[in-house]
Amino acid sequence: MALYLKLAIRNVFRNRRRTVITVAAMGFGAAAIIVFGGFVNSIYLGVRESTIRSQVGHIQLYRKGFSEKGNLAPFDYLIRDYAALRAELAKLEHVKTVTARLGFSGLVSTGDTTTSFVGAGVDPEGEADLSALAVIIEGRDLASRDPRGIILGVGLARAFGVRLGDDLTLLTTTTGGSINALAVKVRGVWESGEKAYDDRFLKVALPEVQRVLDLEHGEVQSIVLLLDKTEHTALVRDRIDRLIRERGLDLEIKTWEDLALRYHQVRELFGRIFAVLTLIVSIMVVFGITNTMTMAIFERTREIGTVMALGTRRRGVVSMFVLEGIALGAVGGIVGVVLGVALAKIISAIGIQLPPPPGSTRGFVVQILVVPEVLAQAFRLSIITATLASLYPAWRAARLDVVEALRHV
């Protein structure tokens, strides 16, 4: 085998021009995978982090049964002892922020016009950490010292034609089933980048919402945790799980992976596009290598005849050419990795601006992450396709008739 490997490697560098062209084609293919893979991963990361930091947090806690039946009777599933829990959770390692939300909905009215809204009572301080991507474009964010000040999504504010400082009335149904109203003032307008959200959503300080809903024990609907790093999610979840079991708490736990629906949709979509690209590149590489190997075999027919005459068996000839394919694949893969990393760095450094993706209102700058797994995948793909592509030419070489091959000029 060492003999065949030596022959394979030397033969790869024999017809330099052809090898350079083949390797360049493979290298570009692998680089395309690395660049696109890096781009896709930066989108995954971007969507993940924006979803976590602007909406769902890393971990959410609800009263047991909420995620199943909470939609129909949200007020039947409220967490009661929030203040105590909060103190407990805040002590856990890796936990950065603990905040709570209380969802409600109803009608919002200027006096002249009325429209429906979806709202959340939030802890102004904690929520600020969870609004990393929701930019206050007018006025200011919620503040505890201004309990009546609310902030509106930009779509809702525009449709309504409200200005900062305008008085609004929120009408909602209390937990007891009666209608209650809350007088508020527009303190700010924010934009999250997600249209559906911006068109309907408003945020109010938590105590005001608890009051208008007739909740007297500081109840909340969900507790949202933000961690120092997304990678610590599982660790903290397990710890909270243990806490829930040890204390017999009536809580259920969800992580961002359960809640970030869009993240999974994005992964699914780009995953498929990536698979198609990989397939196209593989096919190109297979054709390139097959062509190179077929030409090499034609040129070396007499050499093949010679080694067979010297007693090399057919499987030896197959090994020789498959190893050559693998060697070509390895060289192409290395070139591809180097090229791909270089391109990724260059493209990221240039900073190409892209238009907003579907469902979003903000464009973004292309970032290409250098992801070790993608590099490994591109390299592996080069080797695998090159190996597969050399099988048929190698088989043909091994089927050559010795006498005819020796006569070949």
């Binding site: 003999l3 022959l7 030397r10 033969n11 010679t306 067979m308 005459a309 007693g311 006498v403 020796l406």
Partner: protein, 222 residues
């Protein structure tokens, strides 16, 4: 002493479309161990076909060939390859060295595909010394003259101490002086090691070196 090669009533026909071409029409001969045998004849006479059959590169259409008493005509391609690796050495008209390997590595090749006793490096060095190219071990074929390449090829054929060396027109691509040297070299190795040689040629001067000359014409021995 047992005959090294026995060829009995061997015919070889090829099909070219609807045409059947007879390359050998009933050839019988024996090659004695240690013999230096020339097969002479014009091109197209069938001498290459005969050497290919004796060299187990091809199988006869009919008839029987035995090497060291072992019938070889019905062996599978794999078994024939093993037989070539273990018992035969080849010298070609066009030298046929592997261009990406050095002289040393070319000579080493047969020892790597068929393991033999002893130290590989010692054997290769000795073989190169025998053909007078001990100082060219690291050269690749393109850096060697035709005569030097053919010497490397002879070293490669002999390094495994084969029972039989087949040389198809070994001097045809060399000038007459170099060709003469090559035949002298083969003759010397034949005498020193007792290696059996069968070579084809149409050069009358080279035939003179042979123990025996078999003339072949139109697929028949004369």
């Amino acid at each position: 002493m047992i005959d090294r090669v026995v060829v009995k009533d061997v015919t070889k026909t090829y099909r070219l479309g609807t045409l059947t071409v007879t390359a050998l029409a009933g050839v019988s001969l024996t090659v004695r161990t240690g013999e230096f045998l020339a097969v002479a004849g014009p091109s197209g006479s069938g001498k290459t076909t005969l050497l290919n059959l004796i060299g187990c590169l091809d199988t006869p259409t009919s008839g029987e060939i035995a090497i060291d008493g072992e019938p070889v005509s019905a062996l599978s391609p794999g078994r024939r390859a093993d037989l070539r690796a273990s018992k035969l050495g080849f010298v070609f008209q066009t030298f046929n060295l592997i261009p990406v390997l050095t002289a040393y590595e070319n000579v080493e090749y047969p020892l790597l595909i068929h393991r033999r006793g002893g130290n590989v490096a010692t054997r290769v060095r000795a073989a190169l010394e025998q053909v007078g190219l001990g100082d060219r071990a690291t050269h690749r074929p393109p850096e060697l003259s035709g005569g030097q390449q053919q010497r490397v090829a002879i070293a490669r054929a002999l390094v495994g101490e084969p029972a039989l060396v087949l040389a198809d027109e070994p001097t045809a691509n060399l000038d007459s002086h170099t060709g003469h040297d090559i035949i002298e070299l083969m003759r010397r190795l034949n005498r020193e090691h007792g290696t059996t040689f069968v070579f084809s040629t149409h050069d009358p001067r080279i035939m003179q070196a042979a123990d025996r000359v078999l003339e072949i014409s139109d697929g028949r021995l004369l």
